[in-house]
């Protein structure tokens, strides 16, 4: 807030300087442009700017980010889905078809021991993520690991699909989760000029566009029926579905 104030004052100063100093410089240099020259300059300038309009519309559509049409509903749906996972055990919804939730990754590991233990990287030990474990009806010797992400929004931009999933590996009965590293997203959004905003029901003093929604990833494990699970120190992060208590 303060820097923007300083910035705008600086701008004003520069503008004033240009307005007052420039004509003086021009007088010193005494470059006189006749009215015809000025007319041509003015005409060309306007003409060039006008030509830009069709140019803009002809720009090929690359992979632009598109704003969510109905972000409020997406948020509601994803929140509902998550809370249902906490409340209604076992899982009542199919995460793959649930609106507001995206699958980031899916892996399958062959079980090599009778017990499953976990190792979660220190960098992600922040309570952001939840691990849900569901027992399958059969002992097929496979652990299915899927990572999901509920809708992530910043100012209407849905960047859920851009998020890198946690790296999952399995070795000697231990399922390890590692962070994909710190991720930074930098989006560029255009705002209509204040002249247009005024008639779009938005005035230039209130420009905040909705809130940000962040949530962690959901790791969904499907394990063989008789696999023993050792939650170890990760008691808080691992939730057993099927009403089972470890």
């Amino acid at each position: 807030m303060r820097t923007s104030l300083v910035f705008s004052q600086l701008l004003l100063l520069i503008v004033l300087a240009i307005i007052f100093i420039f004509p003086k410089i021009r007088q010193k240099v005494s470059v006189y442009i006749s009215w015809k020259g000025n007319f041509i300059v003015a005409g060309l300038y306007l003409g060039l700017l006008i030509i830009l309009v069709p140019t803009l519309y002809m720009l090929p559509d690359k992979s632009f980010v598109k704003l969510m049409d109905d972000k409020d509903q997406a948020i509601v749906l994803s929140q509902d889905a998550i809370s249902s996972m906490y409340q209604h055990l076992p899982l009542a919804v199919n995460l793959d078809t649930q609106q507001g939730i995206y699958r980031l990754s899916s892996q399958t590991f062959k079980v090599d021991t009778k017990q499953l233990s976990f190792n979660i990287d220190g960098a992600i030990n922040s309570g952001n993520h939840q691990i849900f474990v569901e027992r399958k009806d059969v002992d097929d010797g496979e652990i299915e690991v899927s990572t999901y992400e509920a809708t992530q929004l910043v100012g209407g931009i849905d960047f859920t699909k851009l998020i890198l999933p946690l790296t999952v590996s399995y070795q000697n009965g231990t399922l390890s989760f590692r962070s994909a590293g710190r991720q930074t997203f930098d989006f560029r959004q255009f705002n209509p000029d204040f002249t247009v905003n005024q008639f779009k029901g938005q005035t230039f003093w209130d420009l905040n566009r909705g809130s940000s929604i962040f949530s962690g990833q959901i790791i969904y494990l499907r394990v063989p029926k008789s696999l023993e699970i050792d939650q170890g120190k990760y008691n808080d992060y691992i939730r057993m579905l099927n009403g089972e208590t470890p």
């Binding site: 005494s30 006189y32 442009i33 006749s34 009215w35 000025n38």
Partner: protein
């Protein structure tokens, strides 16, 4: 019917009186010289006639209407002086073509002829001109616009004598071809008296004289000779100018009509009679003291 009629005209700048109860009348199609010392109110008077300034009191009629901020007066008059400004984005030749549509009688062949004669650079902006060339250029506008009322305020400022003579000739020639009312203010009366028909002499905002050039030439006479003899003739009469020479010699200027009957007597007394130039006479008439600058040095 006079083009300019002025009755008891007064103009104040704040508390300073610039024009003081001035009354005169200028007839149509005459060239009048407005003569006066520096600060006598010439420019103020001309700007009131042109409609730039508003009279404080009194009547001023130009083309039988009040000139201040009047479209009719503006359309039928042009005011030329050395402070005229033109935008830098217009070259000299642009100015001639752009100003032309404003004036109904504009003679562009005359304007271009004069422009070429003085060999101006058509691509130059007006503000770059020297004082003299600026005046020359402005005078082209004054002549070519052929306004029914052409006001030239010190039109020859900065011009060299060759250009001044050309200007006077051009003005006179075009006037003869296309008569109009012209007012020229100047302090170089000797140069323009050939051109003028009338002279309006003002001093400190008030009218001093308004008569024809012929009358002005005959108005006064100078007498030189032995101081006592000269004084015996002019005793008790209004002396316009008096100058002491060495060896008791004296020169006085006096109105001709006061002394005309005594011309023969004066000549017999060994005194010399001189005609007084209009230029000098105007200086004498508008002097604050009778002695002139010589008095400052001869004191004490």
């Amino acid at each position: 019917m006079g083009v300019i009629q002025c009755e008891d005209l007064t103009k104040f700048y704040g508390k300073i009186k610039a024009i003081d109860h001035l009354s005169f009348k200028i007839e149509e199609n005459k060239i009048t010289g407005l003569i006066g010392r520096n600060g006598s109110g010439k420019t103020t008077l001309l700007k009131m006639i042109a409609g730039y300034l508003k009279p404080t009191s009194g009547e001023l009629n130009v083309f039988s209407g009040k000139p201040f901020n009047s479209l009719a007066v503006s359309a039928n008059s042009i005011f030329i002086d050395d402070t005229m400004t033109f935008p830098d984005s217009l070259t000299l030749s642009d100015i001639l073509t752009e100003v032309a549509p404003f004036y109904a009688n504009w003679n562009s062949s005359l304007a271009n002829g004069l422009f070429d004669y003085y060999s101006f650079n058509p691509q130059q902006p007006h503000s770059n001109l020297s004082k003299g060339t600026k005046s020359t250029f402005n005078s082209i506008l004054g002549i070519a616009s052929r306004c029914p009322l052409t006001i030239l305020d010190e039109p020859t400022t900065g011009m060299d004598s060759a250009v001044r003579k050309d200007f006077y000739r051009a003005l006179l020639k075009d006037y003869l071809e296309y008569p109009r009312t012209i007012i020229i203010s100047s302090h170089l009366l000797s140069e323009i008296e050939e051109l003028l028909e009338d002279i309006l002499l003002i001093n400190q905002g008030a009218k001093c004289l308004h008569l024809s050039v012929m009358e002005l030439k005959e108005l006064a006479v100078g007498i030189r000779g032995n101081a006592q003899v000269v004084l015996s003739f002019v005793e008790g009469k209004e002396i316009l100018y008096q100058e002491d020479f060495t060896k008791g010699s004296l020169y006085v200027v006096i109105r001709r009509n006061l002394i005309e009957q005594q011309f023969e007597l004066i000549k017999q007394s060994g005194l010399e009679l001189f005609p007084v130039s209009t230029d000098d006479l105007c200086i004498y008439l508008t002097a604050n003291t009778k002695g002139g600058i010589g008095d400052v040095f001869s004191r004490g």
